[in-house]
Symmetry: C2
């Protein structure tokens, strides 16, 4: 099994390689990938070693070949059904974003507990009552659940999603979720991003 | 100058140390921090070495001491005025989020180009015309600009923000921004998060 932190860095290397290919760069060394992505060369080599040996000692990696190998490993253009729990400010903003569809992610439904949010006809994507979650996930092969619920509801929501059979969670609530080992959680922590930026605006 | 990727990882170490302090853990080694955050021990040691030597060889770091040092370095809890460019789905969701205020980030204004979005009275946070950006930033010591504009407008928006004197940008548009060396850009790439999760839901 490839560690999740390695898979996340692969997406970053892939975007980098797409840019290099546009600029017609033929080869790149792990130290150059490291500089461009703010990592150590050892980290880059360790990540790429999971996929076999494509580097040529002394010359680096062939850009088109490495790009193709990473795209295949990530399975980038296979579509994946996604649901969102929490149809509040963030949940609705995410559901209306056409950019996810372009990357192969279809947001097929939202779930909420507030009666005023549950609408199955007016919004582009239907909003169901949370009690319909298990049923919906079993009927429609859902791959990913996004949690856009209040922080105190996040752990319960994660348990319900896992019980419905989903093993991939994108979590926006600023809390560490306790889930079984086979479940992968990615946390988007916008406060951490702002804290990092504030360091520079203050110094 | 401490590299930005190191500063971003410090926020992650800080959250980890806050959790360890809650669990009454007294010391921790760089290899344990590495395991808990999906990094190499070499990366953790390299990051922490920027702030002096607090580890005790063979015992690791004292949790309360390391936590205090990182909080001070990051300047958490000093307030920082933030503006948002783009008062669409994402911009409005971000501006209504009370969690930013808790971390010391005050969203003081939004800016847009569409007449139907510009409202200075009805919404909690005023929405100004983009032409007022320079004026507003100079009058109100703004620290951070968030870009929630369409991808084709992002580079222009970045240039306008930098010309107004802001050097910290949180960018949601899936595009690499070209900015001067003294400007720090953090990209939130939700598509990369979903691609990483999709890898596990497919395999
Ligand atoms: N809005 C942002 O920009 C932003 C930024 C960073 C993080 N977050 C985080 O994202 C989450 C959502 O934020 P928001 O601003 O959209 O909040 P919100 O209050 O606008 O929306 C939350 C929604 O979740 C629903 N809900 C509550 N419990 C639920 C449950 N058990 N199952 C399903 N739905 C449930 C509520 O009825 C509500 O509609 C929060 O955890 C917040 O900390 C939001
Ligand atoms: N909505 C999401 O969940 C989401 C997710 C990931 C990424 N993004 C990215 O975030 C950005 C915003 O997405 P959205 O869904 O809010 O789009 P949106 O179309 O709802 O909002 C964009 C807003 O920006 C305004 N605008 C256009 N040019 C501008 C300029 N030069 N200066 C100031 N305002 C300008 C528009 O008038 C509009 O109000 C996009 O780049 C998108 O790719 C959004």
């Amino acid at each position: 099994q490839i560690p999740e932190s390695t898979i996340a860095r692969l997406s970053i290397y892939l975007r980098l390689l797409e840019e290099l290919e546009r600029e017609k760069t033929a080869t790149i060394r792990s130290s150059e990938i490291a500089n461009l992505s703010g990592l150590t060369a050892a980290q880059v080599r360790k990540d790429l070693a999971y996929f076999g040996q494509f580097g040529v000692r002394g010359q680096g990696y062939a850009v088109p070949l490495l790009k193709k190998k990473i795209s295949q490993t990530l399975g980038v253009h296979q579509s994946c059904k996604t649901i969102i729990l929490g149809a509040g400010n963030l949940g609705q903003a995410l559901s209306s974003y056409r950019g996810f569809h372009k990357e192969g992610f279809d947001i097929v439904a939202l779930f909420d507990i507030a009666a005023d949010k549950i609408k199955q006809k007016e919004t582009a994507t239907p909003i169901y009552d949370l009690s319909e979650l298990q049923n919906f996930v079993q009927k429609n092969k859902v791959g990913i659940a996004v949690l856009a619920v209040p922080v105190q509801a996040a752990q319960d929501a994660a348990i319900q999603v896992v019980e419905a059979g989903i093993t991939s969670i994108l979590n926006f609530a600023p809390v560490d979720l306790a889930v079984p080992n086979n479940v992968h959680v990615r946390n988007v922590d916008l406060a951490t991003e702002l804290i990092t930026l504030a360091y520079y605006s203050k110094s």
